[in-house]
Every structure is written in C-alpha cells, then in structure tokens.
C-alpha cells in the first residue's frame, strides 16, 4: 500500500515518470537473457542460424527440450540429461535432509544443553561458513578415497552434508536461542530427555527455520558445480556437470536451442522452489521468537 505523501507538482510527476522508465529499462536488461533462452529453446535450429535472436519463433517446437532431456550427447554418451537429473535428485534429497537434521540437533544442543566449550564449538562451526570450496577439494578427495566413497553418489552426499552443516547449524542456533529456556526446563521436569524434547517440543515449532534451511541447502547443492566436477564418477555426475559437458561437446553443429533447453531444465527445480516457497523463506528469516 502507498504510505508516502508526494508532491504533486508537474515537475515532480515528470521526475517520477523518468524514474519509472529507468527502473523498467533496468528490469528488461535483467530479463532479456531469460527471454532469449526461452525463445531460443522453442525454435528450430534453422531459424536460429538465420540470425533473429529476439524474434518470436515462426515454428514453435518442443523438440529441443525433448532432445535435451533424453538424447543429447554429453561427452561420450548420448542419452540426454535425464539420468543426471535423477543423480542430482539422489544427491540433493538426502544431503538436504541430513544436513538440516544435523543442523537442527547441533543448534538445539548448542543453545539448550550448553556444555563447557560450546561457544568455542559454535565459533569453529561458524568459521566453516567462510571456508571457500576450493580449499577443501584436495583434503576431501583424500578423505573420500580413504572412506571408499570416491566417485559415488554417497560420497557427494557426504561432501555436501559436511559443507552444509556450518550453515544449517548457524540457522538453527540463531532460531533456538530465541526459544525460551524455561520451556525446555519445563519439559525436563516433565521427564523428557534430550531427543524427546527435540522431537516433541522443539521440532514442532521449527517450521519457519526448517523452510529456510531446506531452501538454502537445496539451492546450494542443486547448483553446485565444483564438488560435482571434482568428486563425481561417470555414473554419479549431477545435472550441472552434465550440462557443462553437453554444451562443450564439440561434435557436429552447435545446437543452441538444445543447449538453452538443457540449461533451463537444470535451473528449473531451484526456480520452482523459490516460486513456491520463497515467501516462507523470507518469513522464516524474519520469524519472531516462539512464545510458550
């Protein structure tokens, strides 16, 4: 709702019109790549080669999407992105679930069962948020090899869980700090133990922060490229890596329409998550304290 009092002189109106024009222009600049992608992905290749980048397709076709999904070549193999898309799901779902759960338990222990040195543990975990991906590549490769998890989906899940716990712990700790200690004390006197309190008292009031953690982790892990390239085997590559391979495959003509469709397929899940749950994300980040 409009809650600003504005001057209504002609000059002020003109300035305002100019401001809107500028903002709309900026929005278009940002939207243009997406428009080009969508348009390109539904045009036959001949039309693209004819040159009109921004024109509407004269022959609308979904063939590039179908090809990207099921028969485009990624390196040696030519069966599209579908298998890799499934790989991504197999990596993302357990990694998000485990890292969120562990983050929640960490946050709970760090705030409600303070022990000697818990502040230090938290400080060290926080430090984990600032470690760049590249730094952990070598040690992580060694560790995965040593654990016998190299080039496997489980290995990638482990990497993402380890890397994500720093963030999820931070989210949950900051949320649980605001939950009154007296509520936990009441449950202790009622006879509930560590995990019982967690499941019965704390988790049911954690909806907003679980949403934040899941969205954050989902986006991070789905969009990850570096860990995928570094640690995945042929059978366990995530969709981002496959997309890169597909675009870089240099046999025959460059099929821009298929590349665009593939890129959109790879980006779609995070887009869907944001559209569906974006408002809960904001709500969760700004959620007030839980009152008993």
């Amino acid at each position: 709702m409009d809650n600003v009092i504005r001057r209504r002189t002609p000059r002020a109106r003109l300035l305002r019109a100019g401001l809107y024009a500028l903002l709309i222009a900026a929005a278009l600049v940002y939207l243009l790549p997406l428009v080009v992608m969508v348009l390109t992905s539904v045009k036959p290749i001949e039309e693209i080669r004819a040159g009109a980048l921004l024109s509407l397709p004269s022959h609308f076709t979904l063939d590039p999407w179908i090809k990207a999904w099921s028969s485009a070549c990624t390196g040696m193999r030519c069966d599209g992105l579908s298998g890799y898309f499934v790989n991504s799901i197999k990596i993302v779902v357990p990694a998000v679930a485990i890292s969120t759960l562990v983050g929640a338990i960490n946050g709970y222990a760090l705030t409600k069962w303070r022990f000697r040195g818990s502040e230090l543990v938290f400080a060290m975990l926080l430090f984990g948020c600032f470690v760049p991906f590249q730094v952990v590549l070598m040690p992580m490769a060694r560790t995965l090899g040593w654990l016998g998890l190299a080039s496997s989906v489980s290995g990638l899940v482990l990497v993402h869980v380890v890397y994500g716990i720093a963030f999820t712990t931070l989210f949950f700790r900051n949320y649980y700090v605001a939950v009154p200690d007296e509520m936990i004390n009441a449950a202790k006197l009622d006879g509930a133990g560590f995990f019982r309190i967690f499941w019965r008292i704390l988790l049911p009031v954690s909806g907003p922060i679980i949403t934040v953690s899941v969205i954050w982790q989902f986006t991070q892990i789905w969009n990850d490229f570096l860990f995928g390239v570094a640690f995945a085997g042929f059978d366990s590559q995530p969709v981002t890596v496959a997309l890169n391979n597909m675009v870089n495959t240099s046999t025959g003509v460059k099929e821009y329409n298929v590349d665009m469709a593939a890129a959109m397929i790879a980006a779609l899940p995070t887009l869907v998550v944001y559209v569906l749950a974006g408002k809960y994300f904001v709500r969760g980040l700004t959620a007030g304290s839980v009152k008993g």
């Binding site: 509520m183 202790k188 006197l189 009622d190 006879g191 509930a192 008292i201 049911p204 009152k291």
Partner: protein, 374 residues
Amino acid sequence: MSALEIRNVRKTFGDTEVLKEISLAIDSGEFLILVGPSGCGKSTLMNAIAGLEPVTAGEIHIGGEDVTWRTPAERDIAMVFQSYALYPSMTVRQNIAFGLEMRKVPKAERDQAVERVADLLQISQLLDRKPSQLSGGQRQRVAMGRALAREPQIYLFDEPLSNLDAKLRVEMRTEIKKLHQRLGTTIVYVTHDQIEAMTLADRIAIMRDGHILQLGTPDEVYNDPADMFVAGFMGSPAMNFLSASLEGGPGEYRVRVETEGAQAPLVLPWPVERETEALASQVGRPVTLGLRPEHFSEEDERLGDQAEGTRFEATTTVVEPTGADTLLQVRLSGVEATVRLGPKSRIKAGDRIALRVDMSRAVLFSTEDESRLA
C-alpha cells in the same frame, strides 16, 4: 521427616558466587516463600532444587533421599515458571498430560488426571485450545494445571503471578491458597509481592546476596526481624528508620530522636520487657530506631494523658489516601517518616498535627552494622 532439606548448598557461575552456604529444611505440606531483592539468587536456588543447575557444593534431600546428583526427571518435582513456558505446539490437554505421558502413565489414567485438574482450575472449556489462543490468566492456570496433573513431592513456583494484572493476581493468590489448603502439598514459592508473601506463607525465607538472612513465620519476620535489611524489606510501606541515640541504663533505657528545627528532641522510653543484653554496650552511641507506619496513631484529644505511647507534633508534607487508610509523610529527625492513619482522617498536607508513637513493637538496630539490638 522433612520434605525438602538443603544442606550447605553453594553455587558459583565462573567467579561469581551466587549461593553461599544455603541451608534450610521444610516439612511436608509446608508453604515456604522465598523473597529477596532482584539478583539475590532465588531462581538459582529453585533451579538447584529442581535439578536444572548442578550445585557447586552441598546436598539436596527430598523426602529423605539424597537427590543432589539426580536429573530433574528423577526428582519428582513440578515447577510453575514466571513465563508459564507452555508447549506452543500442543493443546492445553496435551500440555497437561505431557508429564504423565513421559512417565508412561496409561492413556485412561492420563485423561482422568486432565479432567480432575481442569475441573479444579476451571479450564475444562479450554482443553482443546493452543496456548497462543489463551489470555495471560488462562495460560497461568494451564501452567498450574500442568504441575498439578502429576502428584509430585514438591511444587516449585517461580514468580507465577508476576505477569498478571493486579486484580487477577489477587484472585489467583486466593486460589493458590485454597489449593494448598485442600491438597496439603509442599510448596516453595518465589515472589516479589509483599502481600503474596505474608498471606500465603507458612514460613518466609528472606534472601540477600546468596544468603538466607531470616527464616520464620510471617509474624516473626514482620514483627521480629533479624536485622535492618529484613525489617526494611518486609512490609509495605516500608518500616521507618530514624537516627537516634540510646540513653539511660537497665530498667530505664530511652531512645532520643532529634526533631526538626528548634523543637525539643523526642525522648521515647524503651519498654522494660523488651530490654536485651546488647543494649548496655550501646548507651551514648548512635542507633537506628525502626518504627512501622502503623506504630503511629493520631492523638485523640479526649483521651489526653490516658492514651498509650508518647505524644509529639510534626508537620505533614504529603497525604496519600488509599481508600482503606491514609498514609502521611511527616518530617521527623531529618527524614520523612511514613505514618498510617485511619481512612477518616481529615489531615491536609502542611498541617501541624499531634501523633502518638507506640514503642511496644518498635525495634532497635545498630547503626554501625545494621544488626538487631532489641
């Protein structure tokens, strides 16, 4: 056998000693009130009894058993918190039954207990609501219900009424008193409210800086305070402390209070039956005379010299009618003293009035170390 016994309990957080050698014992069915200024360690003591904080030294016995190192769940205690601390995701019914569920009480028995408690506290119509749908007073009842559903050996109440408005607080106070009389439970109760303390307690413990200064019946702590702090802390409006000096000798001690301006000093004979050994060494030295507002009365001219106590005159500075009685501030001995008179008093601020002071319940303290002399 005492229901709860605390032996030389100490508690430190880092370098700060919050509880310093606390010892007390309460009988089964007794209502003990803990009072003291903010930060004196009342909640810390409650948490120690509940097992929510381990003690640094000392022992805690409940029902004759040493529970010092038992978890809260193993202690058979229920607690009502200042913030109520209800479980927000559960209905009132689930909140009340949770403690029984954790103790593996069968469903049928749990339902029975919920019904019993809901009847007792008149919250039957609220059982299917969530805490967020309740008013402050209703939440308070549910918090009590949660404690009452179980039948623990001891109930702990940490300022349970302090978030309620004045009227509701008085109602709940009466209900807690009735509950205690009906159920005969052992209760330890923290409050800042003088009236709550005086009306509910079988005994009151006054704490300060991690010590218990006095443990006694409401009458004892009010009329026979252990030291100046207790005397000043208990009672509202507070006791008046007047600088004075002690004269005379055994059998004829007098307390001399200098008054304003060119007035003759007020010389008050100390009742012979309340003399103590400690007085002898204080003759000629500064002492502090403690007089409660109700130890003063308005001079009744009809009685003349027949009236009890010593007559004196003073100027009023403030008059505060409270309905039930009238509080006056009068200038005396360089300080303003509070005087409580009947509601019909017609005195206005600035009036010069005649008052009588009744020394039979006055108390005398050493000015030096605030200890009680007589």
